[in-house]
Symmetry: C2
Subunit: 264 residues, 2 copies
């Protein structure tokens, strides 16, 4: 049985891509077969996975979605899926912004991604979908295809204010029978700096306003510049940790490794 | 003569909303008449301007765009525009995500916003448009309506990598005659922490890769927790600075006030 997880938040820069990759890596580390899906035309997850120039890829998720919209045959998995050591990837690039427009008038427009993943997910234990910062057709496709939703939230005022709108969108997806079985896995607090007063304040608001309705994961991802460095180097935080030889450097990132590990 | 500025970057969380509000406030401080336009369904600029619950507003930019798409009469300015001390605001809320879909099949879909602003901007010296993190129809409408584009960039790897795609979109807008006169004002470095090695690295990449093609503003917005606090309190950084009585607190935000002031 394969579990599909959508990583969604319309607020920008809250750690969706970083969390998708590192959570995927930790699940891979536990021996699970993991497929990452980049559903953002920025292609950050594709770059995080080591693809220097996403726009030069011959086949991406956009190829699959456009073929599916126009009822054409889908290519074989080997032609589209990229392989890394512990995770596989369905990549994306700027062409995906054309798909957002094509979807508006497509038949069963909410289910195009689900149809594709039903074919491609058979070999995997987990599929993780990284979404663009919006609540338009592409993120709705991810919610339609998912079993579980994980909501990364940075302890910033507008990121917290935006949870209610996301909550309402998920409720609509369930109510309108786009995906009745969709479950909210929880809120994942990212860029967590417990020493900052504003972080503690936001954490309290999250717990007070949402704590009873939505699960808030115990693992909180610490804000560490090495987490961003790992992203730049197309490494997971664990890989960067293992590359370090100096004890002080290992210690500067171990907390992020442990929080993604415990989340997995 | 009114100058319309689009604040655009498809990368999320780089300081678009924060910069739109504070730059607008500083222009107001110089005695200019300023209209802010919230073109993001998250409504962060509307919240930054003091509207607690944007979804309860009777009239927003979505009302105007939908009326324009269906050729209905636009309401009088007083019915839609909100007034603050130094800036006015055309607010938005979650309804704007419906407009993104309505635009796909609208006549002259790139020019809907421009048509509205041509009517509403007559009393103003500056119009500043805050965009959502994407390169879809709504940001394209902002680029079509603008004289100038300001590109906030945080010194983070993917924010810098994304500039090229934005540059290409602006080139297309000019080439396809959507807006031939559009000028790139420049790159505004935000969340700037010169003590961090990664910030200096990113700044060098920005100057090396883009420095000759695009102007990079001398004013760099420092990364200060008080800047985020001002946003939360629906204040500009100047207003928060002026509210502080303790010298140490004033000093903790003055650099941000000065950089937005020199930008204006
Ligand atoms: N725990 C962390 N500590 C420090 N930096 C982080 C952390 N998590 C993410 N970042 C950095 O913050 C920035 C935003 O993160 P990321 O791109 O993953 O967010 P996102 O929600 O996917 O953004 P977008 O909305 O643009 O898709 C990146 O530069 C990333 O390296
Ligand atoms: N100079 C700064 N120093 C510290 N924090 C900042 C600074 N500028 C912005 N922020 C904070 O960073 C977060 C992101 O900023 P903001 O929301 O303005 O970005 P954005 O590009 O508009 O995001 P989105 O892509 O979601 O629209 C906010 O919580 C804001 O308060
Ligand atoms: Mg992302
Ligand atoms: Mg914004």
């Amino acid at each position: 049985k394969c579990t599909t997880i959508a990583i969604v938040n319309q607020k920008g820069g809250v750690g969706k891509t970083t969390s998708t990759y590192n959570l995927g890596w930790e699940l891979g580390k536990l021996g699970k077969k993991v497929l990452l899906v980049d559903l953002d035309s920025q292609g950050n997850l594709t770059m995080q996975s080591g693809v220097q120039r996403p726009d030069e890829l011959r086949m991406t998720i956009s190829t699959l979605m456009t073929k599916s919209i126009y009822d054409e045959e889908l290519p074989a998995k080997e032609e589209v899926i990229l392989h890394k050591e512990l995770v596989d990837l369905l990549p994306s690039n700027i062409e995906l912004s054309n798909v957002e427009i094509q979807l508006v008038n497509a038949t069963m427009r909410e289910f195009v991604l689900k149809g594709i993943l039903d074919e491609y997910k058979t070999d995997y234990d987990y599929v993780l979908i990284d979404c663009m910062p919006s609540l338009l057709m592409l993120p709705i496709n991810a919610l339609a295809a998912a079993d579980l939703v994980v909501i990364p939230v940075a302890p910033e005022f507008w990121a917290v204010k935006g949870i209610e709108a996301l909550f309402n969108t998920i409720k609509t997806v369930k109510k309108k029978h786009i995906n009745r079985k969709l479950v909210i896995g929880g809120i994942l607090i990212t860029k967590y700096t417990p020493k900052l007063k504003s972080t503690k304040e936001m954490e309290n608001i999250i717990m007070d306003v949402f704590g009873e309705r939505i699960h808030v994961y115990d693992s909180k991802i610490p804000s560490l510049s090495k987490v961003a460095d790992a992203g730049k180097l197309s490494l997971s935080v664990r890989e960067l940790h293992d590359k370090f030889t100096i004890k002080r450097e290992k210690e500067s990132i171990i907390k992020a490794v442990e929080s993604y590990e415990s989340l997995a």
